[in-house]
Symmetry: C2
Subunit: 112 residues, 2 copies
DNA sequence: GTCATATATGTAGTCTGTCTACATGTATAC
DNA sequence: GTATACATGTAGACAGACTACATATATGAC
């Protein structure tokens, strides 16, 4: 997910959090979700299709997002994803969980 | 690693960082490393043996730590791990990498 | 004396999630 | 016509963390 290869991964388990957060902006298709995360992270993250679509599948299976085919403003078919109520609840849980974890890491690293 | 089961993992890839950081305190055996991380994180992390020892093996294979059998103050045999110069360099790289990533996450989550 | 607990190390097998690489196709700009 | 951006997905590999197991000693409580 990171663009710092070799061995470019860190914070797996966070992709679902970032996707759910992104979907609070409204329904988006996969490509737009990826672009949004990349842009907001200032290109620290690169969301690969091989990570994104399986992640969207998982989110859907868990009932945290739903999806439907629609047409984009540029007339192409795309699958739009929408966060559900359960997804928002999950997002809240994951956000506070991330908060706790990053605080704990900060304590171990000594900048707390 | 986290004590928030079910599905208790987040920030994998961070264990090596935390271990290297802990070893800057001096040579320690595995059990003490785990205890230190758990204590400093205020029990947010639980370092399982099944994660710790493979991680220490990896760090050793990469040349970032060395180890030797010694006797503990309580007279038991234990393998003491010591960070190497290469390990310190790696630690620096991983710390700044973590910094970059957590900033990027903060931006996506909107608290930046 | 014996039992529980804390100390101490490790392995086997599983699972999850991410990655690379591939496969497919359309719309738009040049 | 051809390159690029848009758009979705799959297959297979791999890393890293997890659970559960196996082993063993020192200390303190009873």
């Amino acid at each position: 997910m990171l663009d710092t290869r070799p061995r470019g991964d860190l914070v797996p388990g966070t992709l679902e959090l970032l996707v759910l957060q992104t979907l609070t902006l409204g329904s988006l298709h996969g490509y737009a979700i990826a672009q949004h995360i990349e842009r907001l992270s200032e290109a620290v993250f690169r969301v690969e299709q091989g990570s994104l679509y399986p992640a969207l599948d998982r989110l859907q299976r868990k009932g945290w997002v739903t999806s439907a085919w629609r047409e984009t403003p540029t007339k192409r078919r795309a699958r739009y994803y929408t966060i559900t109520a359960a997804g928002r609840k999950q997002l809240g849980a994951e956000r506070s969980r991330y908060e706790r974890v990053s605080l704990a890491i900060a304590r171990v690293l000594g900048h707390a």
